[in-house]
């Protein structure tokens, strides 16, 4: 089956000739029309639309946005905050960057609608420090919107107002974790909080109820407010509604961003057709489907079982190419949809070295608060670094897996899973390479195969 066309809902204007990131251009294209209609509705209605839409968070966890909003404590009397997670740092992910740089007003409109729906009067955009130009663009856009009465106090003459402030991070992946982000916003070391009791919806920023949403998710809210939740839910597939932006990088002919209805494109269609297949003379070896935290898939594997299709249970027998790119399918076959960052590795890549690269990332980014992740992530990095640069032992693969098993499920935040899953899945799927690495690395390195560690 040929790949479907892209459905550019969020990315409609991203590569458009002549489209600029200023307010005038946005409004020429109908911008802020949705906000104008939204503020005439009851806030609870807008929350309802988001619930009906089935929108799932696009930051990595895939948590239903409507459920997240409904958990907010609205009885405490404390102010409710909205925090936009623009800390895009999951390796392999590069979509929020383009929204911020090329279509910032879409985000601002999404933010204002979400704030209105949740009676939020102060919102922060936490943008990673490595997007300095993006921070300036957002500040300019917010100023434009305020000047036009679309953000800030008393928007559109309604009496409702919300200030949006840009807050720059400074190079920490853990600030993408919602409670780590909140701690960072409070001016402290970004140590994620224990949940219970510190669920952001109840005890978030400044111990007030807080909503933390990804950039792309908030853009979807704008479209949901526009077309209605029911109509949105018809896009994509049941339980995996709407569109999502897939970011493909690594060993394909045409890496880049592609927006599809969720679940309507398979891995094979994406990599072989849309991205043009492997580089000349190479074959696909492995793919990480949802950012580097997701478990790796080995080309040639089969996934078998029963899954729900409508009201029935049907059998499935998939190769990597057959997997539909939606949250549930990817979870079902033992990985995850995550942030949509698809990293493709071909047969030139040593999986030991690739894991070494990933382990170095996680050990560098671990905040250090809790024992398993702090000590375990660095231990795993030291093992793979030793394997690559020093002595590799046949039992190192088993040791790596055992260390990873001691981390996942035992930590304060999901970083534990994030640093353990790569190791667990690489060993599970490519264990033979780890056992044989000592021998394999004696062979001279092929030309053009870069170092990874």
């Amino acid at each position: 089956m040929p790949a479907p066309e892209q459905h550019r809902l969020i990315f409609r204007h991203i590569d458009e000739d002549g489209y600029s990131n200023d307010l005038a251009c946005y409004q020429r294209n109908g911008g802020y029309g949705v906000l104008r209609k939204a503020v005439l509705r009851k806030p609870e209605e807008l929350i309802d639309e988001v619930k009906k839409s089935g929108l799932r968070g696009r930051g990595g966890a895939g948590f239903p946005c409507g459920v997240k909003w409904s958990l907010v404590d609205r009885k405490s009397g404390k102010p409710i905050y909205l925090v936009v997670n623009a800390d895009e740092s999951e390796p392999g992910t590069f979509k929020d960057r383009y929204i911020i740089y090329r279509d910032p007003h879409q985000l601002i409109e999404g933010i204002m609608i979400s704030c209105f729906a949740n009676k939020v009067e102060r919102a922060f955009i936490y943008i990673r420090g490595e997007f300095p130009e993006g921070a300036k663009i957002l500040e300019r856009a917010i100023a434009e919107a305020r000047a036009a009465g679309l953000a800030g106090p008393n928007i559109l003459g309604t009496g409702y107002g919300c200030e949006i402030y840009v807050h720059r991070g400074a190079g920490a992946y853990i600030c993408g974790e919602e409670t780590g982000l909140i701690e960072s916003l409070e001016g402290k070391r970004p140590y994620p909080r224990i949940k219970p009791p510190y669920f952001p919806a109840v005890l978030g920023l400044y111990q007030c109820p807080t909503i933390v949403n990804n950039v792309e998710t908030l853009c979807h809210v704008k479209h949901i407010a526009d077309m209605g939740g029911e109509a949105y839910a018809k896009i994509g597939t049941p339980g995996n509604t709407g569109t999502r932006i897939l970011c493909v990088s690594g060993h394909v002919q045409r890496p880049g961003y592609y927006e599809f209805e969720v679940g309507k494109v398979t891995m094979g269609q994406l990599l072989n057709e849309v991205c043009g297949g492997p580089l000349p003379g190479r074959t696909f070896k492995a793919v990480i489907p949802g950012g580097s935290s997701a478990k790796v898939l080995r080309f040639g594997e089969r996934y078998r079982g029963k899954r729900k299709a409508g009201a029935e249970m049907v059998e499935y027998d998939w190769g990597v190419e057959d997997i539909p790119m939606d949250f549930d399918s990817l979870a079902m076959i033992g990985s995850m949809g995550g942030s949509g960052g698809v990293i493709v590795m071909d047969d030139s890549v040593s999986m030991v070295e690739a894991l070494g690269n990933i382990n170095a990332f996680y050990s560098h980014e671990s905040c250090g608060q809790c024992t398993p992740c702090r000590e375990g992530s660095l231990w795993m990095k030291k093992i793979t670094a030793r394997m690559v640069h020093g002595e590799a032992r046949p039992e190192d693969g088993a040791l790596l897996k055992s260390v990873a098993d001691q981390i996942a499920g035992r930590t304060i935040c999901a970083f534990g899973e994030a640093c353990a899953w790569p190791t667990q899945s690489f060993i599970a799927k490519f264990g033979d390479e780890f056992k044989g690495y000592a021998q394999a690395k004696k062979a001279p390195r092929a030309d053009g195969v870069p170092e990874l560690v």
Binding site: I194, P196, S366, T371, R374
Partner: protein, 569 residues
């Protein structure tokens, strides 16, 4: 004291044992009550919960109910309600009991969690046990023995961090041993109110530090050494002095102020090596001030009185007692008691004053209260003097009344129980006008001119009780033998009482208490032996109207707000 009404009780099941505990109890504390030990590092009952060590991971489950009908779902195998065990372990310190909560601590999953955490804590830990003070009271040692795997699989290079950095005058930091539990950081911020510690760098390279140039030097810095579960923070005073398993532990009371912080005195073969706080949730929680810990240095210090003297010449106790009684027999005697004497000593002092028809005085001792565990009354037992009837009003700041009586010739003999009269307010001329009988531990200006000098014991060398600012009577016990040449205060005082014509009373704490409980209504039901380790609150009613000087401390609120200290205008 009327007990507060029983709080809501919640029933939980821990390793098959059911127990009802007050609402708000966490699983670690609940488990303790059924003798189930849940290991931990970062948790401390008096600090905020952070849940970062992950050692207290246990399995938890809730009874299964039908979501629609709420009826219990039964397990056909056991005939009891099925428990939905969570596939993920949860930390016990941050989980408060809820009705029906089931906890398992002996399953394979919990065993693996503990082995995993122990392994992780040890991979970068230096092999310092042979040179580390914490050995013998180290949580890492105890829990790796109890819950660790017993061998290491780590063959990489360990992280190296600064060793032996002086964090402050009393605290030494060995960063490699630190397990980043953050107890010290939380303590400094929350209890000592001196936010001076923090973690620098990131990940496994995180390091405990002060801001360069700043020091951990507040008067509660040594509590971080107590609560450090490993040997990262150690006391510079105690460093390398003694292995803790050789030390005896004796319960005592800090004599620094009327707070009466509970302490433990650690000693071996007659020498005190250190003092640490003892838990008393009603007085000092698990803390004490650094300044109180150093008081043990008085025991063998310079100036310790070691021989009985009459008119400057060495003498025997009997002769000294006779000489003192002769002096007191003439009219015009005053007895200066001490707020640092024990209740028993004050009782006997009062009897002595009565027998000698001497006017009793007490020396006030004011200082600046810090609002935590050092109060503005630096007498640990002023209230003992009130309860025993030695005095009936608060002492004047200086011994003005006594000085006037000396000047007028009314008073010609002064017996002082451990108080330096010149430091307390008398002038050298006034002291020169009287005959001084001095009972005390250290030489001072008064002991130098005493006609009769009888060395007595420090608080570490005798038994007794003090009454603290809360009117709580608390016991302290003898930790080390007295120095040769010193006599137990109770023995000396009872002999003096008898020699002055008073009743013959016992000379040890048990016998004295027989007399005390007979004579002092407030203490009528007690004996030294039956006072519990956490003390007993007395009825403060009879003295409620007195203007006690103390402001609030950790567990004390003044009945009447203390007068505002004069401002620096």
């Amino acid at each position: 004291m009327i007990q507060p009404a029983a709080t809501d009780l919640v029933t939980v099941n821990i390793d098959g044992k059911e127990i009802a505990v007050p609402k708000g109890t966490n699983v670690i504390e609940a488990a303790r009550r059924v003798q189930v030990d849940v290991p931990f590092y970062c948790y401390h009952p008096k600090l905020t919960v952070v849940g970062n060590c992950r050692m207290c991971l246990v399995e938890m489950g809730m009874p299964a109910v039908d979501p629609a009908t709420k009826a219990p779902v039964m397990d056909p195998a056991t005939g009891k309600q099925r428990i939905n065990w969570s596939p993920r372990p949860a930390i016990a310190c941050a989980t408060n009991v809820s009705p029906g909560l089931h906890v398992r601590t002996t399953t394979p999953m919990v065993k693996e969690c503990r082995e995993g955490v122990m392994e992780f804590l040890l991979i970068n830990h230096p092999l310092d046990c042979p040179i580390c003070d914490q050995a013998g009271e180290c949580k890492l040692q105890e829990q790796s023995t109890g819950y660790g795997r017993g061998y290491s699989r780590f063959i990489e290079q360990k992280n190296v961090k600064p060793k032996r950095t002086l964090l402050g005058p009393r605290v030494m930091l060995d960063d490699e041993r630190c397990i980043l539990c953050s107890r010290c950081v939380r303590f400094s911020k929350e209890i000592a109110k001196d936010d001076v510690l923090g973690f620098t760098d990131r990940g496994s390279y995180s390091t405990l530090a002060c801001y360069p140039g700043k020091k951990l030097e507040n008067n509660y810095s040594l509590n971080t050494v107590d609560i450090c579960p490993v040997g990262a923070l150690t006391s510079t005073d105690f460093r390398f002095k003694m292995r803790v398993w050789f030390l005896n532990q004796t319960n005592s009371i800090d004599t620094e102020s009327s707070v009466g912080a509970n302490t433990v005195v650690w000693s071996r073969e007659g020498t005190v090596y250190r003092i640490t706080p003892r838990q008393n949730d009603g007085v000092n929680d698990t803390w004490m001030a650094d300044s109180g810990r150093l008081l043990y240095k008085d025991v063998g210090g310079p100036g310790r009185l070691e021989s009985v003297r009459v008119n400057g010449a060495e003498s025997a106790l009997d002769l000294a007692v006779r000489a003192a009684a002769d002096l007191l027999a003439g009219c015009g005697a005053a007895v200066v008691g001490s707020g640092r004497s024990s209740v028993e000593e004050q009782f006997l002092t009062a009897r002595l004053a009565a027998a000698a028809r001497a006017t009793p005085f007490l020396v006030a001792r004011a200082g600046k209260g810090d609002g935590i565990l050092v109060s503005s009354d630096r007498n640990p037992n002023l209230r003992g003097a009130l309860v025993t009837g030695l005095i009936s009003a608060l002492p004047a700041p200086r011994l003005g009344a006594l000085g006037a009586q000396i000047d007028s010739g009314e008073i010609r003999v002064v017996l002082s129980v451990g108080e330096d009269l010149l430091a307390a307010g008398l002038s050298p001329e006034q002291v020169a006008k009287v005959s001084v009988i001095y009972l005390g531990t250290h030489a001072n200006a008064t002991s130098a001119v005493a006609r009769v000098l009888i060395p007595t014991l420090t608080v570490f060398e005798k038994h007794g009780t003090f009454v603290n600012q809360q009117f709580r009577i608390q016991r302290f016990a003898k930790a080390v033998p007295g120095v040769v040449g010193a006599t137990d205060d109770l023995l000396v005082l009872s002999r003096l009482v008898a020699a002055a014509g008073g009743p013959v009373l016992g000379g040890d704490v048990g016998a004295v208490w027989a007399s005390i409980s007979a004579a002092v209504p407030a203490l009528g039901t007690m004996s030294y032996a039956n006072i519990p380790d956490t003390g007993l609150l007395l009825d403060a009613g009879p003295w409620a109207a007195l203007p006690f000087p103390e402001g609030a401390t950790l567990h004390f609120k003044p009945a009447v707000p203390a007068p505002v200290e004069a401002s620096h205008v």
